[in-house]
Amino acid sequence: MSRDAKNLLKGLAFLSPWLVGFAAFTLIPIALSLYYSFCNYSLVQSPLFCGWDNYRQLMHDDVFWLVLRNTFLYAAMALPGGLIFALLLALLLNQKVPGQSIFRTVVFIPSLVPTIASAALWLWLLNQKLGLVNLVLGTIGIHGPGWLTDTRWVLPGLALMSIWACGNTVVIYLAGLQDVPRELYEAAELDGAGPLRRLWHVTLPMLSPVIFFNLVIAIIGVLQVFDAPYLMTQGGPNRASYFFTYYLYDSGFTYLRMGYASAMGWIQLLIVLAMTGLAFWSSKKWVYYQGK
């Protein structure tokens, strides 16, 4: 046997767990899902080919458009809100002051809390009459809304909860901040750049790959939001927090429309790909890679 063939066999032997797993738990399911998406499939009977019916129905399904709208509205609040708030926190936590490690711990811990627990907690925090959020708002003279009971406020309420748990993002930013070469700040300071200009001309460009990484992770995550609305509002009030993945779950496992759910799955995959692609494409204009 040639050396190349031997190496290949050795390599594939070590990769074999993943190769089998990839085929069984990713490739076959993805292919099946594509097939189901063109079928009428209720689990009780075997899949019945129906062409583009599911996709055509989706296009005329008001609920589908509603969950799409809700998901994107929520993303428009939670995504930039979380990324910017996390960046501000990271900049703050990167200052060299005594006791900083305590603050870092405090900021990180909310991201550890399982959604099931944070859902219960925030259900209580956002309670209209007795919740802490409205009590705090009350002390500065603001009459807080019924966060989870008012169709206009449920998405901001859920976004607020997701922003509270942004510790992961903060840690990734912090690691990035610590990689920025000191010399750049010193040079900028010598040139007379104040803190804001150093932030704008040194920190942000050097941090842009990390910001980009966090953006991509956030895009993939935000389309999958399920736990919080399922546990806290059951998609309500009046379906105002009914999200994409929630409707997909209901289509498949509540209404047993596996074909319909699969078609939604494929649309979700395409949206994720398109948004990530868009992020990659735009990144050429705003992400700065050192040494390239």
């Binding site: 190349d4 190496n7 290949l8 390599g11 594939l12 070590f14 767990p17 993943w18 089998v20 797993g21 990839f22 069984a24 738990f25 399911p29 993805i30 899902s33 189901y36 926190l89 703050l92 200052q95 060299k96 002051v97 603050f103 711990t105 405090v106 990180f108 811990i109 550890l112 809390v113 399982p114 959604t115 099931i116 627990a117 219960a120 907690l121 209580w124 925090l125 802490l132 009590l135 840690v171 990734i172 930013y173 690691a175 990035g176 000191r182 790959p209 990390v210 999958q224 399920f226 736990d227 546990l231 779950y249 596996m258 699969s262 799955g265 494929w266 979700q268 995959l269 994720v272 790909l273």
Partner: protein, 289 residues
Amino acid sequence: MEKSVKRVRGAGVILTYAALLLAGGLMVLPFLWLISTSLKTVPQTMEYPPRWIPNPVMLKNFSDVLRNPRANFALWTRNTLIIAALTVTGVTFSSSIVAYGFARLKFPGRGFLFGLMLSTMMIPFPVLMVPLYTIFRWLGDHTGIQWLGTFRPLWVPAWFGSAFSIFMLRQFFVTIPDELSEAARIDGCSEWGIYWHIIMPLSRPALSVVALFTFMYVWRDFLGPLVYLQRASQFTLTLGLQSFQSQNGGTSWNLLMAASLLVIAPVILLFFLAQRTFIQGIATTGMKG
């Protein structure tokens, strides 16, 4: 902290502290509220304005939750720990084998397969949820071994590696000097021997990151158990807490908060025990690979 680093001075320090206190306060307040409520009586939770220090301190709330006939915390914890143990062992073991192949062996097609593996991380779980369900159902109908309604769909896939863990371990394995492997090869050590006797013992920090993250994933997972588990006797903590919550919906906030605290506490304890592993692990994921 490096001594040479110029520290923030004067008004800067005060401003920084003010901002830090504000931010830290916002993050911590919900927890204090959680603890405070979990120790209150029901009428006290309804008081307006509320008081932060409960009087009397109802430690009894916790035993009420634990002894509640509709909440079987011991069983839910046991179920979660069984799934976690099987998943953590499986992910750590299989991912390290695959990561070894990606990091320490040279063969045609390696780059392509690595890229393929990374791209699978972008596939949202909801997309796979429906077909996986039908696959597990089919397996149950055709092999005589039931999958749905058992723990199997939750832990068996873990034994085939997880893309995220393989990536993490691979990043670590490539930093181990090649000379170590070469020397062992000259001594006639097999590839498996190098993996098991040289690379694995050197990789404890990375392996613990993977184990820890996997454990956290299982502890938090809700959608997976929701789809695959059917009977209350199999519920994990997250599913159990949900059933407890929907039975007590909105009525007794004190018990709900006590139950939530019981689920959060182990995670926070774990964080304090393994703080460094956590932070380093997350920081690595953000590094340009």
